[in-house]
Symmetry: C2
Subunit: 210 residues, 2 copies
DNA sequence: GAGATAGCCTACTCCTCAGTAAGATACATC
DNA sequence: GATGTATCTTACTGAGGAGTAGGCTATCTC
């Protein structure tokens, strides 16, 4: 996107543009974050664009300068959450570990996501408010996580570190337990997200070991 | 509410009233049921009173003849679900069974509720759409179930049929897993609610046994 | 058959809120 | 300084949908 300056002393005419683009992107992320916070707190339908704007000390049309529509806003929040997790996974997953440890690693990251302001929206806000295409897109991203876990379970059954009778139901159970966590978890409470995540995984470790 | 007829041959003047009241109550339940179905299918905000009315072949004011407001409708659906479960529990729970079996019995009934049209609303529809008082009322009813399970876990630790390291987190996990089930369960799928419930409980039986 | 009342309908009101039009301001480039 | 463009504002529109006013009809009671 950026052009290299040619010849000597020629200033980078795109520098300021880059700066602006960076600012633009930063502000967009700020809007997403604020929206996520409010969606998570009050729900999607109970949050108005005006409230998001007010929380950021701007006016409604400013929000619309950065987003397409309210639905688009929700989609972007959810999408960002899923993409962030995917990145974290491909960065940190250590393929050499025993399967049970990789499972723990996965759900440590998953728990961190699902208890973050962005991730909470995945669990607390229904995707019924989205159009069919966006919904499909998000579902296929979520499906990937299930497939990843499925694989880990299979490998665990080979390397002997995991033993579950019904992998499909195990997956539904563990994702369900984590996805439900935002319903009772409170950031003002005594435990941190990481503590909760660890304790929650421990329950399923008991179910996966013999 | 009904007066006994006094003397001979005096007809029960309340008979027709009783009949009407029964009809009234029956129709009210029908409205709740239809509302629950639509709420579960499309979500609370995505369902209009007109749609509920149309599904019942009546008009909107007819619905309002039976309910106070849309919010009231949601509250009554959720409340009915919880009360029904409470009744089923106090009717069927067998105190003489070992704790682990009572736990299974509990979640068999809980699963049956949570996958029914009424119960699904508890899990799929956020109570954020309710006023503070209704929300408190529902939450305290739900809390009761947690307390019941807590008790069973304690008894199971005494009679030796249950062994969990962290009862609090176990409770969060198992309720979460069941509460999330409506998100993926489909009535048109291969498995029945009872089959799903049994398989789901089996996962947690593995986690609760040693 | 004359009220009285339950049950339901047609035809509205009214408000919230997503989204927009059109213009002001700040800032960069020439 | 003139011009252009990104950013943001004031002041609107428009629709969807919750809820209601008022009236019609069937049924019950006397």
């Amino acid at each position: 996107m950026t052009k290299k300056p040619v010849g000597r002393k020629r200033p980078n005419v795109w520098e300021s543009v880059d700066l602006r683009q960076e600012q633009h992107e930063a502000k967009r992320r700020l809007i997403l974050k604020q929206a996520a916070l409010l969606f998570a707190d009050r729900g999607f339908h109970e949050t108005t664009i005006d409230q998001i704007a007010e929380a950021l000390n701007v006016t409604k049309p400013t929000i619309y300068y950065y987003i397409e529509s309210k639905e688009d806003l929700l989609y972007q929040v959810a999408h960002t959450a899923l993409v962030d997790l995917n990145e974290a996974l491909s960065r940190d997953q250590d393929a050499k570990l025993p399967a049970i440890d990789r499972l723990e690693q996965f759900f440590t990251m998953y728990g961190r996501l699902i208890l973050s302001e962005f991730g909470v929206c995945l669990a607390l806000v229904s995707d019924r408010s989205l159009n069919a295409q966006s919904r499909r897109k998000l579902r296929s991203l979520k499906k990937q996580f299930e497939i990843t876990v499925r694989k880990i379970l299979e490998e665990g059954s080979k390397d002997g570190t995991i033993c579950v009778d019904d992998p499909k139901m195990f997956i539904f159970a563990i994702f369900g337990a984590f996805n439900w966590a935002p319903q009772w978890f409170s950031n003002t409470g005594a435990s941190t997200p990481d503590e909760v995540t660890a304790a929650m995984f421990h329950v399923f470790r008991s179910a996966a070991a013999r």
